[in-house]
Symmetry: C2
Subunit: 272 residues, 2 copies
DNA sequence: CGACTAGTTGAGGCCAGTCAATGTTGGTGG
DNA sequence: CCACCAACATTGACTGGCCTCAACTAGTCG
């Protein structure tokens, strides 16, 4: 464990605890008792659990948020097999969830942005079934699941929000099954880029221009492709004028064309 | 609408209503007010929503089950885009969920057996996002979602069961993403057969010998393969002594070998 | 500077898709 | 009951898309 004591932004609120979950390198998790940030003032509350809640209800939810956690880049928020107690709402940053296989490779199951909630996979059997790791420095709100459940009993709107969030996770996963089950490499990539752009858009960022936080290898793992294929298709899209790529900076130049590629035409030949 | 009035097992309890959702052929749905069957006496209650519930709680749940629905083979229980009001618990039979694409092909997202609950994908945006069709004559219990939600507020165990069932659906989907994203054809098939056997086992049937209810085409769609490939791998497994296939009757002869194929070794060469 | 990680590009091979012909099964009507 | 038809399944020959292996470049960090 090298660098175990290297200071990484020592507890901003004077309270820091290494949660004993650490990534492959010097990354670590720092728990912060944050006294100022509440759902009411959170920039992503419209995408997150409190969406549509009355202010009173929101305060109650607020009170449940035990703590914020800062996850440094490459560190793990939780690992597959760990006991499930919390859902985590992403405040800033980005996470990926993945399962590591016997041969060391990992399959990326999903990537998650601000407002998203991760950890639903742990409800089933009281243990998380995947790893969640930060793709960049990330802050999450820890939501004690049993408390949330309790509160949901008296707040139907919260209950409904919870259900909807899980359901939408499921819908997302189903969409991914479709991508993996029926699409060719170019279609997958187009779908991926459009989806990414759409999620940035809903968060108030540009739909057309953004920074990938995933490596080629992670994108490939997510899409069921090899990293070389990902790279090649980026190049192909680039020279076709569909996108502009410079390392991890991507600009979508022809949304319409990308939609034709990714939006439909599954298992079709045609694209060329 | 051909055959709109052709009688198909006219309402056993003297009450039959065509729910206006019908399959590609003469199949249709018949609603039955069933006065006798309750969760307490249901053979799959241990796999279904009422698992672990106190008898009192179970009765309350019982009262919510508006009606049973009989779905004839090939008929649709619901279609993508239809308004979401019910979850459906499968009492007997088998369903597949799938999405139909522009070119007419459908991608099978999952198959569901007795005790399973389908329809979670509709919670998200009040509309189902997939079709659910019967692979054989099937009976389901219609669970009005809002009533279930209400009841869950006073029955924490029911609330928890609901959450767990959704979560386990998600886990299943994630597993499928792994299959589709990282496994080769033989690995997919082995995984599929083992999974199927396991699900039969948990329902008290033989793990090793069962009847496929899916066509080669549907299996292929589910696994991201073409039907020819499915057929070929069945033959290959057969001559390797791993299984015995006769049409849709399958006998697993070498579980250990199948587990080696499907259990791990993702994206590995090796298998030969 | 050397070591390392990430990314690009090329050459070649293989797995699974495609196309096509034939066999099998099950349901329907004469 | 059998003949017929349509749906389902099997098998072969060929093709091609993606993987594999490999070389090389660029950027980063000690």
């Amino acid at each position: 464990m090298p660098h175990a004591s290297k200071p990484v932004r020592p507890g901003a609120a004077g309270y820091a605890a290494d949660l004993a979950v650490r990534g492959r390198s010097e990354a670590r998790i720092i728990s912060i008792r944050n006294l100022e940030i509440h759902c009411q003032t959170c920039s992503v509350r419209e995408l997150c659990l409190p969406v549509g809640l009355a202010t009173e209800a929101m305060s109650e939810l607020d009170r449940l948020i035990g703590h914020r956690i800062r996850v440094t880049k490459h560190a793990a928020l939780y690992r597959a097999g760990a006991e499930f107690h919390f859902l985590y709402a992403i405040h800033t940053g980005m996470l990926k969830t993945s399962v590591v296989m016997d041969d060391g490779r990992d399959q990326v199951m999903g990537y998650h942005m601000s407002g998203d909630i991760v950890g639903f996979d742990g409800i089933d059997n009281e243990h998380y079934s995947a790893d969640a790791a930060a793709l960049e420095d990330t802050e999450v709100c820890a939501l004690p699941f049993s408390s949330i459940e309790n509160l949901a009993r008296t707040l139907p709107s919260l209950q409904r929000n919870l259900s909807k969030l899980i359901s939408s996770e499921m819908t997302q996963d189903r969409g991914m099954m479709l991508v993996l089950g029926s699409m060719k490499a170019e279609e997958r990539m187009a779908t991926f880029l459009l989806n990414l752009g759409d999620r940035y858009r809903r968060r108030g960022y540009s739909q057309n221009e953004f920074e990938l936080r995933l490596t080629r290898d992670e994108i490939g793992s997510y899409l069921g492709l090899r990293l070389e294929t990902v790279s090649r298709i980026f190049s192909r899209f680039h020279s076709a004028g569909l996108i502009q790529v410079q390392g991890r900076t991507v600009k979508l130049l022809d949304l319409a064309a990308l939609k034709v590629l990714g939006g439909q035409g599954h298992r079709n030949p045609a694209i060329s």
